[in-house]
């Protein structure tokens, strides 16, 4: 097997698409996940826990189940399609929506835990120091929840890069549009192109290791800097 046989322009295309999907998804997740996590971290009744459970569903649900419902929701007869005027299935936007829902718990839960660990006190202190609620959120809550935010961002990104079932259900494998890395690997294996599969799979392995390592290093650094956040 020659090195040349490993070269495939589709490989780069799929890689770029995957990274683009993961980046967009992560940004969207942080934008909606942070306020959601804040809301969930505030004391509240039973139904807040119910919302928390719904958000956490993708952790336990088989991806194909989630993908199936998403496919229906994005299909030609769904209200969502009627609302948008076109269907989202088999489009990049559809993939982003699916990934956001699929990866939501991995972003929301660490941020929520960070906010909860902070307690109400820092916000009260900020309020008595003339900080408006938004100002206090920005200048106190967000920096104090930084470990949760970075953990959430990394997990959300990595989880989106690795997703397979949901993507396959709602995106299919349209090259350059919806054919992401994990699907490409599956294709290579189906076509017995083991060498190419090795390149991508190995790359994923290295990437995943780096992500986990980075996460642990970040947590350690914050742990040291924080020491005694609420004494």
């Amino acid at each position: 097997m020659s090195l040349a046989s490993l070269h495939d322009p589709a490989m780069l295309e799929t890689l770029v698409l995957t990274l683009k999907l993961a980046s967009v998804t992560t940004v969207v997740l942080l934008l909606i996940g942070t306020p959601l996590a804040w809301w969930l971290a505030q004391p509240g009744g039973l139904w807040k826990e119910a919302v928390g459970a719904i958000i956490s569903l993708p952790i336990v649900l088989p991806p194909t189940v989630l993908g199936f419902y998403l496919l229906i929701a994005m299909g030609p007869e769904s209200p969502l399609t009627a609302l948008l005027g076109h269907k989202l299935s088999f489009t990049f936007a559809g993939l982003v929506l699916g990934s956001v829902i699929y990866s939501l718990p991995f972003v929301v839960n660490p941020i929520r835990n960070s906010f909860a660990a902070m307690g109400a006190r820092p916000m009260e202190v900020a309020a008595t120091l003339r900080a408006s609620p938004f100002d206090a959120f920005r200048s106190v809550a967000l920096p104090l929840a930084a470990p949760g935010l970075s953990t959430g961002a990394i997990l959300g990104f990595a989880h989106t890069v690795g997703e397979f079932g949901v993507v396959l259900m709602i995106g299919g494998a349209i090259p350059g549009k919806t054919k992401v890395l994990s699907v490409t690997i599956f294709d290579y294996v189906e076509n017995l192109e083991w060498g190419k599969a090795h390149v991508l799979a190995g790359g994923m392995l290295v990437l995943s290791f780096s992500v986990i390592l980075a996460m642990m290093l970040i947590e350690r650094r914050f742990g040291e800097a924080r020491g005694d956040a609420r004494r």
Binding site: E124, T128, L129, R130, A136, V140, R226, R230
Partner: protein, 376 residues
């Protein structure tokens, strides 16, 4: 001038308090744990909302029933039980957090606060490396720099060990002597109150039992405070002479002059004396041969036997005319009966000189940091 009234239900607890405090000086909210002191303070800051209430501070209405100004729109400084410094900010950034956001004219500057609290040396250290006492000093400085019209302190010493507490008390006494702004603090420790407060609001089970000047309430025979075992009178006076050879100071108080150990500063320095009732004995005449330094003419106001035992608590007014400072004495009931004292009698009160604790008001220099103040 502060006028507060809060009424309503907090959880399973009914709060119904109303009190006033002057626009200057220290008012203590005192009472047993769970009597609602902290809730009152939180209502004053706007952190807890009780729709049945009214709060006016220096002419501004902070609450009128359901119209409640949110905390960040009130010029209030709040010192929590635990220092609660922002862990992601340096000591200096913590200090400036409120200052940057303060509106209106700057009443107190950074240099002044840093000097008052002796926190300059802490600037270079991470907040996590500060001791409990140091953290609380930074927290007080941070609150002061937010330019409050009212400083609220919720048991600022209770989370500290005894040594840190002793370290921080002189700074609080200094704030008291220097600052124009009114301070309200919550405490369940009468010795803190004796050192810091001018006025007392006595709370009991969500209600105000009594309020008034400290010295008066401490000695009020109708209040439970009179029965505490470490009963003491608190008297304010002014240094009139210092005798360095013997290491004594003379302090003029209403109705007399009291000699106190220690050089307590130049003439004119205000000092607060705490005179335990058990260290005051009574006699008909001035003693002739005695080692006691202080024998002061006084008039008996009244006396009441302690509920359970052999002692009688006597209230006295210093001075032959019986119009001076209030002094307390606890003598055995037997002596009281034997000597046949009665209200209105002019007697001589003898004070053990060593029992007079000259608790400093304005310290001339910043108290030195103690070696024992180890970061925890």
């Amino acid at each position: 001038m502060i006028s507060a009234r809060f009424a309503g239900r907090l959880g399973s607890f009914d709060l119904d308090v109303a009190f006033e405090a002057p626009g200057r000086g220290v008012t203590a909210l005192f009472g047993p744990s769970g009597c609602g002191k902290t809730s009152v303070l939180r209502c004053m800051a706007g952190l807890t909302r009780l729709p049945g209430g009214r709060l006016e501070v220096n002419g501004q209405i902070w609450q009128e029933g359901r119209k409640i100004t949110p905390p960040h729109r009130r010029a209030v400084g709040y010192v929590f039980q635990e220092a609660s410094l922002f862990a992601h900010l340096s000591v200096r950034e913590n200090l400036r957090y409120g200052m940057k956001r303060a509106r209106g004219p700057l009443r107190i500057g950074e240099a002044e606060v840093v000097g008052l609290l002796g926190i300059e040396a802490l600037f270079s250290r991470p907040t996590a490396a500060l001791s409990g006492g140091e953290r609380q000093r930074v927290a007080i400085g941070r609150a002061l720099l937010s330019q409050p019209e009212l400083l609220l302190m919720d048991e600022p010493l209770s989370a500290l060990d005894r040594i840190s507490r002793e370290e921080i008390l002189p700074y609080l006494e200094r704030l008291h002597a220097t600052l124009e702004m009114p301070i309200l603090f919550v405490s369940h420790d009468i010795s803190e109150v004796e050192r810091l407060a001018d006025r007392l609001v006595l709370m009991e089970a969500g209600k105000v039992r009594a309020e008034g000047p400290l010295a008066q309430l401490l000695a009020d025979p109708s209040l439970p405070l009179i029965h505490r075992p470490d009963l003491a009178a608190v008297i304010e006076g002014e240094v009139i002479a210092v005798d360095p050879a013997y290491g004594l100071s003379e302090i003029a108080v209403p109705g007399g002059v009291i000699t106190v150990p220690g050089a307590l500063g130049p003439a004119g320095t205000r000092r607060r004396l705490r005179i335990p009732a058990s260290d005051v004995s009574l006699g008909r005449r001035a003693p002739l041969d005695t080692t006691i330094l202080n024998a002061l003419p006084a008039t008996i106001l009244d006396a009441a036997p302690d509920p359970d035992g052999h002692l009688t608590t006597v209230r006295l007014a210093l001075g032959p005319a019986g119009n001076g400072a209030l002094l307390l004495s606890r003598v055995s009931r037997k002596s009281w009966d034997r000597l046949g004292f009665a209200p209105g009698d002019r007697i001589v009160a003898r004070l053990k000189a060593t029992a007079l604790a000259g608790r400093g008001r304005p310290a001339e220099t910043a108290p030195e940091r103690k070696m024992t103040d180890v970061p925890d």
